[in-house]
Every structure is written in structure tokens, then in C-alpha cells.
């Protein structure tokens, strides 16, 4: 079990592991950064193409008046990728760093944390691209950036809580990693990344929408759409609800991780 003081002490290591992850990711590929952006851009291109073929209307930003489907998708896809990649990466992080864990002592939560922060770094890159594209399209998003930062932070906490739980579980049950992959796929379609929440309301009514919104990711992703695409504040009530989830998962994750931490080196 590690104390908070030990984590503060180990911040240099967290930094180094994050940098190692970031560098390792882009080393060995000449196109480096470009590849990391190619992935979301491809997804955007594919969905935009099919939605155009299907004749779907692009959502209209309120009050921004923006009406570009690709940008709507991009503003949802960037946070979604952050969530998916950080949960996925965090789940495998402890097992992946097994050789380090069985040879050196440090507060083990660092590996989960640094995985999420290295994904966060990629997210910042993608967010910058999104901001530039939005500015080109005429959306003045600059004043909203502090809100985006808050959202990213909240999301990081949520991912850390979930990641701590899954990382430990994955040490004992190695197929958790696959289950997480499947779970994320289901979540992708039950979250308003490619479509709008109004679609759910139209199909399932107000009650259906309420149940739908119990999934904390719904309002989290929705918040990015609102702030970056619509240029308006997120729904504060629901944001508090999301924050509640993040706090609860963080506490549960920390307690569970600390409980299993001393045995990790020998179980790996």
C-alpha cells in the first residue's frame, strides 16, 4: 500500500514513464505524430462518407450555427478516443510493466497514471487539430478552452478510477483485456459520438432519454459537443452527476488498487 506522499515523491518517475510511452510510441515510425492523427481522421472520413450516402443531415450548432458533420463527429471522437485508449491502455498497464514492477519498488499506481497521461498527451494533440479546424470553420472556440481543459481533467479522473480497477483485475484474469475491448465497442454506440441525443429522445421519449443519460459517458461526450460545436455551457446538473461517478470510481479504484498492490510483483 502506498501513501500519497510516496506518489508525490515518485512524480519524476511518472513523468519519465509518460515520456517513455510517448517517445516509444512515435519512435520507429518516420511519420510519427502524423500517424497518431491519421487514425481519428480516417474514422471521421469513413463516417462522414456513409452518413452522406445515407443522406443524413448534419446537426446544427446552437448558437454557433455550425453545420458540418465531420466536425461534429471529430469533437465527439477526440474525447471518445481519450476514454477508450486510456481505459484500454490502463487495463494492460500493470501486466505490460511487469518487468519493471518485479525489479524495482515504486508506488505501482504510477504505471496506470502514466499510461493515462501519455494517452492524454495524444488527446491534446488531437484537440489542437480540432480547435484549428473549428476556427477555420468559423467557430470561435478559444474562450471555451478552459472549459475543455476542465472536461479533459474530469475525464482523466474517470478513466483513472476505472483503470485502477481493471489493471488489477487484469493481473488475475488476463482475458479482462479482451472483455474491455468488447465493452468499449458497445459503449461507443451507446454514447452520442456519431449521433445526437435528440435521436434517442425522438425514439424512446423523455423517460428513455433519462435512462440513457445514466451512463456518465453520455453527458461527458455531449459536453464536448456543446462546448466545441455549439459554443454553449454543458448541463451543470448532469456534469455534477458525471463528477460524482468519477469521484466514486476514483475512491473505489484507489482502495482496491492499494489492497492488491503489495502482491502484484509476485502475481505477475
Amino acid at each position: 500500500m502506498s501513501t500519497i506522499a510516496e506518489y508525490v515523491e515518485a512524480r519524476e518517475l511518472a513523468k519519465a514513464l509518460t515520456m517513455r510511452d510517448i517517445r516509444g510510441q512515435y519512435k520507429g515510425s518516420i511519420l510519427g505524430w502524423f500517424w497518431s492523427l491519421l487514425n481519428p481522421l480516417t474514422t471521421v472520413a469513413i463516417f462522414t462518407f456513409f452518413f452522406a450516402v445515407l443522406g443524413m443531415q448534419a446537426p446544427v450548432g446552437d448558437p454557433s450555427g455550425l453545420k458540418i458533420f465531420a466536425l461534429y463527429l471529430f469533437t465527439g471522437l477526440v474525447p471518445w478516443n481519450f476514454f477508450a485508449a486510456s481505459v484500454n491502455g490502463a487495463t494492460g498497464s500493470v501486466v505490460a510493466q511487469g518487468s519493471l514492477i518485479s525489479k524495482v519498488y515504486f508506488p505501482r499506481g504510477i504505471v496506470v497514471f502514466s499510461k493515462i497521461s501519455s494517452v492524454g498527451f495524444t488527446t491534446l494533440m488531437e484537440t489542437s487539430v480540432a480547435v484549428i479546424l473549428l476556427l477555420i470553420a468559423g467557430n470561435m472556440v478559444l474562450p471555451w478552452l478552459p472549459v475543455v481543459a476542465m472536461l479533459l481533467l474530469l475525464q482523466g479522473c474517470l478513466a483513472l478510477g476505472i483503470g485502477l480497477i481493471l489493471a488489477v483485475a487484469n493481473v488475475y484474469f488476463r482475458d479482462i483485456q479482451y472483455l474491455v475491448g468488447i465493452g468499449l465497442q458497445v459503449l461507443f454506440y451507446s454514447t452520442p459520438v456519431v449521433y445526437q441525443t435528440s435521436l434517442i429522445e425522438a425514439k424512446f421519449g423523455a423517460r428513455g432519454l433519462f435512462i440513457y443519460r445514466l451512463n456518465p459517458l453520455v453527458d461527458l461526450i455531449e459536453a464536448y459537443h456543446r462546448v466545441l460545436y455549439d459554443l454553449r455551457w454543458p448541463d451543470f446538473g448532469w456534469m455534477a452527476y458525471v463528477a460524482g461517478w468519477a469521484a466514486a470510481l476514483l475512491v473505489i479504484g484507489a482502495v482496491m488498487f492499494n489492497r492488491f498492490e503489495p502482491r502484484l510483483a509476485e502475481e505477475l
Partner: protein
């Protein structure tokens, strides 16, 4: 090689660097292990295992500033004990207290990332060992320097291109240059070449003479006996003996040879102590390239005098005096003693003992001189100072440069004289 001078630890540290108290460690030995949710759900359990005690009630104090050896057969729990000290593993019972910053070389390249360059890995590894970036920057040159020329040349290459010896060099170099107060080393130096191993052992000596503690796990028993000032023997997770290196190593070897445990008697606090050791040859001295300090130089076949001074706390009967000459890789080259030859009935106060050697028949090379005082039986050391004085031997006979002993013989047969 300009090694960073190791600063002595300023504060008068605790006399005990590591206190191990009744430590027991158990591993699960799984016969069936269900490492997937699917299997666990279907079979209704995570597996069946028996509990296997790998460390059994081990208690031991490692004195600050000592070089402490840990020996024992494969699977006896040495690495496990070291990992418990390093907090990598948590003992099931008992406690371990470590005083001071600890750096552990459990296996090399912990935290090395194969794709990153040596340079980047130095920073990463330094962080793993608890150093701030600035601190690593300050030490960077001495780290690379100590690792050697090969590594220095490849420092900007990805580490996956390094040979395993280069891995060890870099890893070890980082670990000793972070200036740990306690250094744990688990059997990793064997991969390094002769030259590097020598420098490592020399570094251990520097560390311990500046008040730092080194715990060394090794199967190289002669090295352990020569390097360490205490040795512990683990057997099947139990601590069999702790004490004088040569005694414990001998007991261990006896066990290996005769298959029965032998008893090591530990003598009480020393009554006679060695206060100084001197080697006196023809008076030549030279600055050693490795040490950067003056050492005595003796020619093969020249006369030398070995002298030790002693101090007695209380009168001691029939002491046996001995010198030991080691090669740098820890092989005992000579071990002359007064046992059955000469010696006083009883010593009191202070005094000196001298051994006059008419001709020193060692081949050219570097050696270390140590001394010991034993009790009347010649078996139990009262005091021992190993490898205290460094000296070098040079010679003019190109036909005798290898091995340890020069025979100084004369050749006969169909020979010719070189001009």
C-alpha cells in the same frame, strides 16, 4: 577513467543499515491456475495452490558501511530476501527496516526501454531509482564514463542494439552513481567482462569505505570471501549462519563437499585489532592508472617486507598472524601465516609483526594485500582486513607474465639466446 569521488555520508548514520526481523515469505505454488474470467467462472475457483514458505523466520542486521554477502544454493531464497529488502515483495510475517536511500540491481535494465537510446534510458532509469532530472544531468558524464568506452560510443543508439555486457555496464553504472546509501546487487555482474568486474568490486570498496552499505548476492564464493566483511548463508529459506566471510564460505563448501552441515563458531568481540598494513619493497612507487593514487611497485623476484601493526584491547594468548595476497579478481595468491612456525605466547598493548620475503615470486600485475589475526587454533579470525593495500608487481622476464606465480626457473634444451 575519472570516477566521481564518492562523498562520505555526512551524518553519523544508524549503525544498522538494514534490520530484518523474523521475516517469512510465502509464495503460492499453483497446481491449477485459472487466469481467465471464463475458466474461473466455469471451474468456480481461481485455482488450487499449496503454500510454499520461501523465507522462514529470517532475522539479521546488516551493519552500515559493511559489504554484506548472501550465499546459498539455487532456490534458497536469496533473491526473495533481496526483493523484500527492496520492498518489491512484501513479507507475510516480520518486518524490514532500511535506513537510507536504497538502490537495487535485482536484474539489469529494469526499466530500460529497448527502442529508446542509451541516453534517454539513463534518465528513465535514474527516475526509476528516485533521481530528479537535474541530479541525473550532474551525474550523466560519470555514469557514461564508468560504463566504459563501448557504451559511451553507443550512448545515442537504441538500447536494443547493446550487447548484454553493455546492458550490465550501463545499468550498474547508473545504480552506483545515484550514490545510494544502501546498494543491493543480485548476481548481475557475472555478465560483465574481467575489467568491468574489477572496477565494480573496486567501486564496492569505495562505497563501503565511505560508509555506504552493499549487499551482494553471488555464487562466486572466492569473490564473496574476499570482498565482504560479513556473509550470511541461506539454506531452504532459513538463515544457517552469519559471520566471518571465510568461515561461512568454508562451512558452505564443506556442506557441498560432505553433504552435512558444519558448525560455525563466531568468536566474541575482537581482542586484537590490526591497525595498519604496509608493504615495503625497493622503494619504488607509481601512480596507479585505475586508482589515481600512489601504490608500491615491486619487481618479480625482488625482496619485500610485509608489516602489520596491531592493537590489543586485552591480553591475547597465542595469536596467529597471517597475510593474504589477492589478485584483483579475488583469487587468493598467497596466504602466509605464523601458524606452527612462530609467534608470541601472548600479546599486549601495541606492536608490529613483519614478514620478510626474500624474493616475491608473483607475475607482473596488480595485487592487494590484507592481514588477519587468528586465535590459537588458526581457525577463527579475531580480526581480518582484506584487500587493504594495493600494490603492483612488474618484471623483466617476458616469459613469465601469466598465471599468478613466477617460478624463476632456467630453461635447458636446444635453445638460443635472443640478442
Amino acid at each position: 577513467m575519472s570516477d566521481a569521488v564518492t562523498e562520505p555520508i555526512a551524518s553519523a548514520a544508524d549503525p544498522v543499515a538494514i534490520a530484518v526481523r523474523n521475516v517469512s515469505k510465502q509464495f503460492r505454488r499453483y497446481s491449477v491456475r485459472n487466469q481467465s474470467v471464463k475458466a474461473a467462472l466455469f471451474r468456480g475457483s481461481r485455482g488450487t495452490y499449496e503454500e510454499n514458505w520461501v523465507l522462514d523466520d529470517v532475522s539479521l542486521d546488516i551493519p552500515t558501511g559493511s559489504t554484506f554477502g548472501l550465499i546459498g544454493s539455487n532456490g534458497s531464497g536469496k533473491s526473495t530476501l533481496l526483493k523484500c529488502m527492496a520492498r518489491i515483495l512484501k513479507p507475510n510475517k516480520g518486518s524490514i527496516t532500511v535506513n537510507g536511500r536504497l538502490s537495487a540491481l535485482i536484474e539489469l535494465g529494469a526499466g530500460f526501454h529497448p527502442e529508446l537510446s542509451g541516453r534517454e534510458n539513463v534518465y528513465l532509469n535514474g527516475a526509476v531509482l528516485g533521481l530528479r532530472r537535474k541530479e541525473i544531468e550532474q551525474r550523466f558524464d560519470s555514469i557514461v564514463d564508468f560504463a566504459g568506452r563501448q557504451v559511451a560510443q553507443a550512448i545515442d543508439q537504441p538500447i536494443k542494439t547493446y550487447s548484454s555486457g553493455m546492458y550490465v555496464r550501463l545499468g550498474f553504472s547508473i545504480a552506483v552513481n545515484v550514490e545510494p546509501e544502501v546498494l543491493l546487487v543480485d548476481e548481475v555482474l557475472a555478465v560483465g567482462d574481467e575489467e568491468f568486474q574489477r572496477r565494480c568490486y573496486q567501486r564496492f570498496e569505495e562505497l563501503s569505505s565511505s560508509g555506504r552499505t552493499v549487499v551482494l548476492v553471488s555464487h562466486a564464493l572466492s569473490t564473496v570471501a574476499a570482498m565482504c566483511d560479513h556473509v550470511a548463508w541461506l539454506d531452504g529459506g532459513k538463515l544457517l549462519h552469519v559471520g566471518q566471510p571465510q568461515q561461512v564460505v568454508d562451512a558452505y563448501l564443506t556442506r557441498l563437499d560432505f553433504g552435512r552441515p558444519s558448525v560455525v563458531e563466531v568468536s566474541e568481540g575482537p581482542s586484537v585489532r590490526i591497525s595498519d598494513i604496509v608493504i615495503e619493497g625497493a622503494g619504488r612507487r607509481r601512480t596507479s592508472t585505475e586508482l589515481g593514487e600512489e601504490v608500491a611497485v615491486v619487481g618479480t623476484g625482488e625482496p619485500v617486507r610485509l608489516r602489520m601493526s596491531y592493537q590489543t584491547d586485552r591480553p591475547t594468548d597465542l595469536p596467529v598472524f597471517a597475510f593474504s595476497v589477492h589478485t584483483l579478481d579475488g583469487t587468493l595468491a598467497a596466504n602466509p601465516s605464523t601458524l606452527g612456525v612462530a609467534g608470541p605466547e601472548r600479546v599486549e598493548g601495541t606492536g608490529t609483526v613483519e614478514l620478510e620475503v626474500p624474493s616475491l615470486m608473483l607475475v607482473p600485475g596488480a595485487y592487494t594485500l590484507g592481514a588477519a589475526i587468528f586465535d590459537a587454533s588458526g581457525e577463527h579470525a579475531i580480526d581480518r582486513k582484506l584487500r587493504l593495500v594495493r600494490f603492483e608487481v612488474d618484471g623483466h622476464n617476458p616469459g613469465e607474465t601469466r598465471g599468478i606465480t613466477a617460478l624463476g626457473g632456467r630453461w635447458h634444451g636446444p635453445l638460443f639466446d635472443l640478442p
